[in-house]
Amino acid sequence: MRDAATTATVNLVYLARLREAFGVASERIDVPPAVTTVAALREWLAARGGAWANELAPGRPVRFAVNHDLAAPDAPVGPGDEVALFPPVTGG
């Protein structure tokens, strides 16, 4: 966990339906000091409103991966992390 005054630059990746809904495939962005977990990141992104609020609303099925591993809501998010957001998977 970083200290309470530091922002972190993270790489966000959006896949499948979420990429289309947000109209962007990825972004490199500074998140505020309070955003230290997957759950906090979700809430922060949802506050953008519009498609973000809609797709990331509580109860919507969104999966997160941090550095290519599936991540639970309490998983930490830190500087340099690649955080991917995507719908439940449908391969096979």
Binding site: L15, V89, G91
Partner: protein, 156 residues
């Protein structure tokens, strides 16, 4: 333990022959082949596009095969998953497992495809008679994967 993600088709016979080539302890080879249906949820499917998350997909599939190897006494496994545009009847995925005996090979093969369907980052988008749509995850797939969970293992 070959794991491949590719746009091109695969030859099941050749892949299964390669899986057991030179491994004289193998007495059973089990294969699952997933193919594109022409009808899904009452809409006729013209084409389907499969997307994945490069980097994570390979890692997730390797972890699933490793888990199968830790749980069952199998000799080797192969997973091939196609991406890009596919049409009805096309092959999508091959899971092949070689083991000494059929029981462990059957179980490991079913485990790998059940976990692939719920944990590996692939998504299907269908072009149907009712328009284009992303395929929704099925609760039955989660239930199929949950059968393999030990009481101590948390949900995905």
């Amino acid at each position: 333990m070959p794991i491949r993600i590719q746009t091109e088709d695969f030859d099941v016979a050749r892949e299964l022959a390669a899986l057991r080539a030179g491994k004289l302890s193998v007495g059973a080879v089990v294969a699952f082949i997933g193919t594109v249906r022409d009808i899904n949820e009452d809409s006729r499917i013209a084409t389907m596009t499969l997307e994945h998350y490069p980097g994570m997909t390979e890692k997730a599939l390797a972890a699933i095969v490793d888990a199968a190897k830790a749980r069952w006494d199998i000799v080797d496994a192969v997973v091939i998953h196609r991406i890009g545009a596919l049409a009805p009847a096309d092959q999508i995925v091959l899971v092949g497992v070689a083991g000494a005996h059929r029981g462990e090979a059957f179980a490991a093969c079913e485990f790998i495809i059940d976990y692939l369907k719920t944990r590996a980052p692939f998504w299907k988008k269908e072009d149907t008679s009712a328009g284009a749509r992303w395929v929704e995850a099925r609760a039955t797939d989660d239930e199929a994967a949950a059968r393999w969970r030990s009481p101590r293992e948390p949900a995905a």
